[in-house]
Symmetry: C2
């Protein structure tokens, strides 16, 4: 199944509960858009493209399960739902992008309440389907960058679980493997929430792709000793100048790769670009609960003394000059990023 | 009490069991040097200076609890003990340094078996006492580098638990705080064994020094956003050209600080310098059991899928050009490190 799917017969959204993997595979179902917002906040669903798709379906749920009797009433209710959904998490641009796309369709709609319900479901399904198609296009462009025999360091989870299906950076790696290239992945465990060891390792195991987990701080060792040939990760938001916000730790990984002349690629759909922000310093960085840092156990014991506090920024910004290139659904982008990015976007 | 102490009345070594902190404070006692070697390997005791002192006491235990009746027999037995102790862990130079210092004393000894026993205990105690004195000297030199109001990022544990007493890099921070400077420490949790959140946070709590724990990958965020003014860590072995081997993750931290013009200092006694190694690439890097990476729990659940494998280098090498300076017991060393290092060592 896809990471998130619309169930037409029950008018509900089904999502893999990513909080429980790899220990348990469970599907959650949603009929209330407020529960979808909570699921985004609590990271039942995570990954910028998956969050966008979930928000689209959240809007569809709001339309289908509303008691509104008139089109203006329903539209007003959907605007209220949009306000709730778009603030569920701050950093990824896809969330706001998907909600805005839904509102644009909703606002332009005339006809019956039932027409509007059908139209919101269609649009949410379209966002999800387009995401899958975009992923496959990125994968085919990006796979060309990977050589037979490469060891690739990957950060966080950018696989099927981060999107509707297939994956962004991990989708590129899957494609290279599917093309017959002998590759290995060094999986950053990705503290604090361990999306690397919990989700990426679990996915790679399903696909049969060789991998080993490393602690995030060990990437520098492998890069400096010539044991890794490529670095790939995703993006949660890209500023106009090409700075990339992504899962915390990406910046240090890119620095270490760059210092050792190892190519660094970010893989993202064009919708991740936010031209309204001049540079990466303007991207809002979500700071999450300290329990994500403090709440793990080592040898079954707590890892921090009682009363300890933590800071927990969930993302960081990698300046554009550290990237070798980007993989988008329109092709690979090389420096100068700003100029080439604008040229690419003009092609839309 | 000190991290490790000689008990004259029971002729045994007492060490804080650092595997259990911060959950439980327990003291282990040792009468067999082979158990001390195992304690070093299993990290009941860790930190390069503490390992050196433990090995010295291990030699003293071997002498005191030997059944040898003649001086040649006892010396031969002590050489066998030295062979066991010095390979307990490969990266820190202090281990081999302390064992060699003990052997030099042992080999030069004449007199009775009892004289030799007394002499080995004296020398082991001297190594430990000198370590404490050296720590205080480093702390006083290093504290001058810290300004009132600084936020300092610290990696691994270099406090009293890493040495016999007081600390190296954390000793500098303690001294600055004791001098009345208002400072805050951002404590790298230091995966995989979490010496930062388990040990450094526990120590800082005892000392009343304000701190917050961060995941290792988050240091780049704080450095790039101007929220940290200094980086301090220790050293396990320093090559002739000034490259520093230290706990894995130190290299990426130094890179991120250097890229953001934040000063980076390594704090170590001169005995950590290994002139026999031309550069850091020649320092042996210990690779430990994969269970240290895979064996934590998140929300009480395993963090990696069954059958997952990990790579676990315990150290990495930070090239000398990334350091602003070093703090030693002979003063602060600035670039060019190789030249100034040799000048300093010639002063001995």
């Amino acid at each position: 199944m896809r990471t998130l799917e619309w169930d037409y017969s029950r008018t509900e959204l089904r999502m893999i509960n990513q909080r429980l993997l790899p220990a348990r595979f469970e599907i959650n179902t949603y009929q209330d858009y407020r529960d979808v917002a909570a699921a985004i906040r609590d990271m039942v669903v995570r990954g910028a493209p998956a969050i966008g798709a979930a928000a689209g379906f959240g809007m569809a749920l709001a339309a289908c399960h509303s008691g509104a009797q008139s089109l203006p009433d329903l539209k007003a209710e959907l605007h209220r739902a949009a306000d709730v959904l778009k603030v569920a998490r701050p950093t990824a641009v896809n969330l706001g992008w998907a909600v805005q796309r839904m509102l644009t369709v909703i606002d332009s709609q005339s006809g019956t309440v039932e027409d509007l319900r059908r139209r919101t479901v269609d649009e949410a399904v379209r966002i999800a389907d387009e995401d899958v198609e975009i992923n496959h296009r990125m994968a085919h462009f990006g796979a060309e960058l990977i050589q037979d025999g490469d060891t690739i360091i990957h950060h966080c989870n950018t696989g099927a679980l981060a999107v509707v299906d297939w994956g962004t950076a991990l989708g590129v790696i899957r494609q290279a493997y599917a093309d017959g290239k002998k590759i290995k992945v060094l999986v950053d465990e990705t503290r604090p929430r361990l999306q690397g060891s919990r989700l990426t390792a679990w996915e790679l195991q399903q696909y049969g792709i060789p991998y080993e987990i490393i602690s995030d701080g060990a990437a520098g060792y492998f890069l400096r000793s010539g044991q890794a040939q490529k670095v790939f990760f995703g993006a949660d938001r890209v500023a106009a100048n090409g700075d990339v916000a992504n899962k915390v730790g990406s910046y240090m990984l890119a620095l270490a790769a760059h210092a050792n002349h190892v190519p660094v690629y970010s893989v993202f759909p064009i919708s991740s670009v936010d031209l309204s922000l001049e540079n990466g310093d303007l991207i809002p960085i979500e700071e999450r609960d300290e329990d994500e840092v403090l709440g793990i156990q080592f040898h079954g014991e707590p890892v921090a003394p009682q009363g300890a506090h933590a800071r927990n920024p969930a993302f960081d910004v990698t300046p554009h000059h550290l990237f070798t290139g980007w993989v988008t659904e329109k092709g690979i982008v090389y420096p100068p990023f700003k100029k080439n990015l604008l040229r690419l976007m003009a092609q839309q």
